[in-house]
């Protein structure tokens, strides 16, 4: 089995897995970073969203072949103590219900605000449209992205 090295939350990691293994399962099963969640496995729900070189990507649909040598940030590495402005906004508004989708929501929102720190209402909705929340905490997710934007700029 091929050997891959990736940088995860600033640390270099080597893993030996078959080349088609999705990044999601390397994070969860090999690197014990279980904050990134499995929801669908086919890039449809966003639960597995991480940052790849700063861009929000679906880790369930990226093979290790595709990420070898690259730098990845997961929810565990987004900030030191949950103090990223997006996490702060999430706390302030008490967003989660069951909480399962929320790491993915936060990772999508943080990458989005990085590129578009002053988004319009419809830009926020479009950016978050790819992340399913089965508990439908959508109204708070929306408000939290709005609030995070004010914290960033």
């Amino acid at each position: 089995m091929p050997l891959y090295s990736i940088t995860v939350n600033g640390k270099l990691k080597n893993v030996e897995v078959s080349s088609d293994t999705p990044l999601l399962w390397v994070l969860r099963d090999h690197l014990e970073l279980v904050g990134t969640k499995f929801g669908c496995g086919i890039a449809q729900c966003g639960a597995c969203t991480v940052h790849l070189e700063g861009n929000a990507v679906r880790s369930c649909s990226l093979t290790m072949d595709a990420v070898d040598g690259k730098s990845i940030t997961t929810i565990e590495g987004l900030s030191e103590n949950g103090t990223h402005p997006v996490q702060e906004a999430w706390k302030e508004l008490d967003v989660p219900q069951c909480g399962y989708c929320q790491a993915g929501q936060i990772m999508t929102a943080s990458a989005f605000l990085d590129k578009n720190p002053k988004p319009s209402e419809s830009e926020i909705k479009a950016a978050m449209h790819g992340n399913i929340c089965r508990c439908a905490a959508y109204t708070r997710i929306f408000k939290a992205v709005e609030l995070a934007a004010t914290k960033i700029s």
Binding site: S18, K91, Y100, M128, R134, T139, F142
Partner: protein
């Protein structure tokens, strides 16, 4: 559903002990008395949930830890139930730490999250527990000071006497632990509540937003292996043979085994107390070192399936249900007056049939469970809404003593009723029993959606008679698949309001496994009933709000104990909703739809505002009024309320699971549509303030949402939806025929 009366003396459900490490431990049981001889342990690592189903620890520095008895599925009970204890204990909420209690059961009662009942059943006993603990601390302080306890007051964990001396709770825990448990304590008047009614954040908030392991899928122990299960591709098919040669040769695969023998015990007639919803087929299981390797190797198994029972298609189901409605094989659940006569004498009759599809639960966290079985012990860990039941069933199925079962609950990535059924627990127990290694069974999304315990399709036919401007008869017929949605509806609105009233129900046995789904019984009935009244008002040419109010008027002062809803509370929410939503006063271009409904002990009114954007109707806003008694945690409550409404709209608009020859035609989110951000309306919530006991909020805002939207769509497009999901009828979303103003 009536509230069971809860009477017991405090002495019978509370015991205390002194912790070896310092501090006081209070063990208590909700809804059951303690065994006569037990006392709580003196070491916190020895908490025994067989003896007590919950504990409060007060450390000698005054810190309070509550071991919360209910599993968390996203309803916030892990936050709101401890709030009740903390209120009466009179401590600052910020100093309270909440931990999920394990289960070691057969004494764990009502440790079940479902039916929006947790808060309703916990309301009295949890407060009494807190108040009893507080009184013991006060008594201990009073003895120290040599004063009468009645001279002492408490606030935020500090006891003060008449001369102004103070003692922290931590200072007296040692003495308190030795005192008698007081028999009579008084509860606070609701005006004195400091914690109840204030906003409290989710107790797991910090962990959730930083990605800490909390959920079943995150649980891991050394040496754990993963199991992916190949189940029948269609309901009605069973395993005949399989070839796992290729799968066994794949990387990471440890073994491929067959299970099913043990689970069959559970589905046998004589074990019907377990009424498990699962296939009787054998299943093929891949055991691998990682999740991915297990899921991938499962795809490589070649299995032959044979048809054992008829393979149902959606078309067959529709025909069967319609035939039931047309037929005469009904059970009559309620019969007032003589509907036959009233229909014969009517000036006008309206009859409509309402139809709904099967729905999967689609919890965001797919089903999964951990088991480790040895000769001594059965260790089970994971997300299940019925831990006690699951523990008993596993013990029964494996022929073991239930005292050997240790079940730990994790946070759950959604429940919606799916995790009431322990099929995944029985699967992993059978696997672990064979391989004797710590193992976790994991469902892919496809497994989760195709091996469900679905909300069954259901159809209602409602018929009303009108004479002299009055509704003189109401006839509700129900046709259901299986028993989950069957026959529990006779005393909802408008029972008691119409002189000639009848509810008839019929069902057939489907081979598809079905179960409870968020807001069971009412999740579709509300749509049928509230759509019907909207249309009835139009047909009668009367105001649609006034029609409802007039009917409610007739129920006031009723002596009929069977009636489930309160006409007064219903009237109130309707009036508040009319006012808050600007009903009938909106500028042109906003089309409103109304629904008011009682279910799960809560009264809810919703008004949907629809506008036309690019020629298509769009739900812009929902105004919601909720009467759920005292609101324990308004911040959490609003989250539940909003979630319920959006979930209700989403499933009414898009939810549809079609079967062909027993096989679900949707397997993942690429061909099953859930509501997403851009389809979500603004939601404005109004909570009715009163001093009535609290009721749950996990469910009641969902049922009326579909009706409010359908009624608004009627106003916007002129078309009336009687079938869900609405997205199946794109032509009805066209607004050509739209009236320019709102009717009624």
């Amino acid at each position: 559903m009536s509230t069971p009366s809860i009477t017991f003396s405090r002495r019978s459900f509370i015991r205390t002990s002194s912790l070896a490490s310092g501090g006081l431990l209070i063990g208590f049981n909700l809804f059951t008395a303690c065994k006569p001889k037990v006392t709580p342990p003196v070491d916190i690592s020895q908490l025994n949930f067989n003896d007590f189903n919950a504990f409060i620890k007060i450390a000698d520095n005054g810190a309070v830890t509550i071991f919360a008895p209910n599993p968390e599925i996203g309803q916030g009970v892990k936050t709101s139930m401890p709030m009740l204890i903390a209120e009466e204990l009179d401590v600052a909420w910020d100093n309270v730490y909440v931990q999920q209690g394990d289960l070691d059961t057969n004494n764990y009662t009502r440790q079940l999250a479902g039916g929006s009942q947790s808060i309703r059943f916990g309301w009295e006993p949890l407060r009494q527990t807190g108040a009893t603990a507080r009184q013991m601390l006060v008594n201990a302080a009073a003895i120290k000071w040599g004063v009468d306890p009645s001279e002492c007051t408490t606030s935020e964990g500090v006891i003060t006497n008449a001369s102004g001396d103070t003692l922290g709770y931590g200072d007296v825990v040692k003495e308190a632990a030795l005192l008698e448990v007081p028999e009579n304590v008084t509860l606070k008047a609701s005006k004195d509540f400091k914690i109840i009614g204030s906003d409290a954040k989710n107790v797991d908030l910090e962990k959730i937003i930083t990605g800490k392991p909390l959920f079943g899928l995150d649980y891991k122990v050394d040496g754990m292996v993963y199991a992916a299960v190949l189940r029948p591709p269609a309901f009605g098919k069973v395993l005949e043979s399989y070839d796992a040669t290729e799968a066994k040769a794949m990387p990471g695969v440890i073994d491929v085994i067959k299970i099913g023998e043990k689970a069959k015990e559970l589905t046998k007639e004589e074990n019907s107390n377990w009424t498990v919803a699962m296939s009787t087929s054998d299943k093929v299981v891949v055991i691998a070192k990682t999740t991915w390797e297990a899921l991938k190797a499962k795809e490589a198994i070649k299995a032959n399936w044979v048809t054992e029972t008829p393979l149902e298609s959606t078309q067959d189901q529709d025909q069967k249900l319609l035939a039931l409605l047309d037929g005469n094989k009904f059970n009559t659940l309620r019969k007032d007056g003589d509907i036959k006569k009233a229909f014969a004498q009517a000036e006008m009759v309206l009859e409509r049939t309402y139809e709904s599809p099967f729905l999967p639960h689609n919890c965001m966290e797919p089903m999964n469970f951990f088991a480790n079985i040895t000769d001594e012990k059965i260790h089970l860990v994971g997300p299940v809404q019925t831990p006690e039941f699951a523990a008993n069933a596993v013990a029964g199925m494996l022929g073991r003593d239930v005292n050997e079962v240790h079940l730990e609950m994790t946070r759950m990535g959604g429940g919606f009723g799916r995790r009431l059924y322990g099929d995944f627990v029985y699967e992993v127990a059978e696997i672990a029993n064979v391989i004797r290694k710590p193992v976790k069974v994991i469902f892919s999304r496809e497994d989760d959606m195709t091996a469900g315990t679905y909300r069954p399709a259901i159809k209602y036919r409602i018929k009303a008679a009108v004479k002299d401007g009055q509704v003189t008869a109401y006839h509700l017929k129900e046709a259901a698949a299986n028993g989950n949605m069957y026959g529990l509806i006779p005393n909802f609105f408008p029972a008691g309001a119409v002189e000639n009233y009848q509810v008839d129900v019929a069902n057939y046995n489907s081979s598809i496994t079905t179960g409870a789904w968020r807001a069971p019984y009412t999740n579709f009935l509300a749509f049928a009933e509230q759509s019907f009244f909207d249309e009835l008002a139009e047909t009668m040419k009367v105001d649609r709000i006034q029609l409802r109010l007039d009917l409610l008027q007739k129920v006031k002062g009723t002596t009929d104990k069977r009636i489930e809803y309160s006409p007064e509370r219903m009237e109130n929410i309707i009036k508040v909703a009319v006012e808050k939503s600007g009903w009938g006063k909106k500028e042109s271009g906003i089309y409103q739809g109304f629904a008011a409904y009682y279910c799960h002990n809560t009264h809810v009114a919703e008004v949907a505002d629809v506008i036309i954007e690019n020629g298509m109707p769009v739900v812009k806003k929902v105004t919601c009024v909720v009467d759920c008694g005292i609101v324990v945690n308004p911040l959490g409550a609003k989250n539940q309320i909003e979630g319920g409404i959006i979930d209700g709209i989403g499933h009414a608009m898009y939810g549809d699971l079609v079967f062909e020859d027993g096989a679900p035609q949707s397997q993942n989110y690429n061909n099953y549509r859930l509501i997403r951000m851009m389809e979500v309306p603004e939601i404005e919530t109004h909570l009715i303030q009163n001093e009535l006991s609290p009721t749950g909020l996990g469910e009641p805002t969902l049922p009326p949402a579909g009706a409010a939207v359908a009624n608004a769509l009627k106003a916007a497009t002129g078309n009336r939806f009687t079938q869900q999901p609405f997205s199946k009828f794109p032509e009805m979303m066209q607004t050509k025929s739209a009236p320019k103003t709102i009717i009624g």
